[in-house]
Symmetry: C2
Subunit: 337 residues, 2 copies
């Protein structure tokens, strides 16, 4: 059985009490400089590492944050994580990452079996809102601070940080309109999600404001992958009148659409305009390059973590809601040229 050097080992080696060692190691009050020096030296000599379980036990603090993500294999979530870790690391917090794979059941399972005592707080982007948010409410009721980001949960009262989905979608759609497209379709996300709804609304309002027709068959919902984008486009192409532009809920779906269009020998931009959402690096690589709304993923991660840390430090902290603006990036796919 492995066993680390403990505070007791140091104490007995130096013939002093554990209390003194404890104080010396933490450099607090009431300890002579020379004894402190001796303790420190002995500690490195024995390769002492503090036992976080023990510390967590007495303080009811673990310096561990949980992160719940639908997926990690994409640009948005992975840079978001990097943002989170950026502030967590500086504050001395570790991150335990849970990936649900967009599986709502798994999400519930994970949250229900969470070792709440092992976590000082929870950062979450929900997998799906289809069913209830009960499992999150339970966590909050247990006194564990929760911050939602990106895919937030409507009916739960806590801090949330997200990009401005509505205005981003509005701007993207207006951009297409200004570039002469009139029959604009929307390749959307799963229906249950709030941000799917927000982007849909931005799209709709932009059409209405410019007195363009809203054609229900030009709005198709499905998942977030490139394959979903391809399928959505096929569906758009079989039934009724075809659109002359596509606003996709994210870049991956937009690229799926571009690929499908290219297979049909339809010229992107000239025949059909395409715009995405996210500014995934791949949008600059695909040909023609994809116009998009850049999301501040890293910043969202940072802000979420900062907010969570605040929640943890203050006992009573009023939930905040922050919305970060996106930015229109014009490339080739949305221009007739």
């Amino acid at each position: 059985m492995r066993r680390f050097a403990t505070i007791k080992d140091i104490a007995s080696a130096l013939n002093i009490s554990v209390s003194t060692v404890s104080r010396a190691l933490r450099d607090t009050y009431d300890v002579n400089a020379s004894t402190r020096q001796a303790v420190l030296q002995k500690a490195t000599e024995l390769n002492y590492r503090p036992n976080f379980n023990a510390i967590g036990l007495v303080h009811n603090r673990t310096h561990n944050l949980g992160i719940l993500l639908p997926e990690i294999t994409n640009y948005y979530f992975s840079t978001l994580f990097t943002g989170i870790q950026d502030v967590a690391y500086k504050a001395g917090f570790n991150l335990t990452l849970f990936v649900t794979g967009n599986d709502a059941e798994r999400e519930v399972d994970i949250v229900r079996n969470l070792s709440l005592s092992g976590l000082d707080g929870l950062l979450v982007s929900v997998s799906s809102q289809a069913d209830s948010d009960q499992h999150f409410q339970e966590v909050i009721d247990n006194g564990v601070p929760v911050v939602f980001f990106d895919r937030v949960s409507e009916n739960i009262h806590t801090s949330k940080v997200m990009q401005d989905d509505y205005n981003g979608a509005f701007e993207a759609t207006v951009h297409l309109i200004k570039n002469g497209y009139r029959k604009i379709a929307h390749i959307a996300g799963p229906e249950g999600l709030t941000f799917t709804q927000a982007r849909l609304n931005g799209y709709l309002d932009a059409l209405r404001k410019h007195k363009l027709p809203v054609e229900p068959s030009w709005i198709v919902h499905s998942g977030f992958t490139q394959q979903h984008g391809e399928q959505d486009l096929e569906q758009l192409w079989v039934c009724g009148e075809r659109p002359d532009a596509i606003f996709a809920v994210n870049d991956r779906k937009a690229i799926g659409a571009i690929l499908a269009l290219k297979r049909k020998n339809i010229r992107i931009g000239k025949d059909v305009g395409v715009i995405g959402f996210t500014n995934d690096p791949v949008s600059a690589i695909v040909s023609p390059a994809l116009s998009t709304i850049a999301e501040p993923a890293f910043e969202i991660g940072k802000r979420s973590c900062e907010l969570l840390l605040k929640h943890i430090q203050k006992k009573r902290f009023e939930p905040e809601q922050v919305t970060l603006p996106g930015k229109l990036i014009v490339r080739e796919s949305s221009q007739r040229l």
Copy 2:
């Protein structure tokens, strides 16, 4: 101060001892069915959650695995993580993720300050081998199982799992040769890394086997990003004779090279062949599509975690080394047509 219901709360509510509650909760020996039922009911009623700190303290087991990664914002590492989590989740282990950002200093800092007592094992892909591996040796000396993957550390005796870098590189180079390219350059990774060396050797041996010249100025080392790929290509293009094909150490650099070549109006495939390594999804999206060696990222993650779990379970477990084969994926960028 937040406080969860404990085993004591259940005990006093039921007027029984904590030992009995403990046994009932864990469904072990020596507990009557009816009292067990009562305990279970009370537990859900009080929303009891076990305190992992306490359990970790007595068992010296946390069911926490540490993962040390150079970065997470790319396809390879993020799917690798998914593979790890796939087996960890089933085995009831949580994952604490540390991302170094390819910063060797930060790696040392993280490892040195690791709460070893909070981790049952460590999965690592090193950030750089430039300096020493001493910090990892310390961890192992403390009795914490470590498994290396992808970017392994040579001088440390422990389990390692990686793809077959040498043969992959060999195969990629031979593929270019067979397609008629003769002046093949290599855009390599940072020099310190073992797998950089392995891929370089595969490349060199393929050249030698086919009696092609090895031109030192056609081998350029740098980092792993797309930008590095672009820079490397520029460097290749300024000095002396220009190559007619490029084998890149990974897809991102290959794509950088492709982009730079396109800016020069050089036709990919026809004028200059390009092949990468990884099979990042973007390699199918870029135009022309990038030939590459597919790496079994997910599988590597799974195998690493399985191996680590074995190490943790058995007290004495002989280090294993597993090498997974890659697979040549032929697309457009490596064909003259």
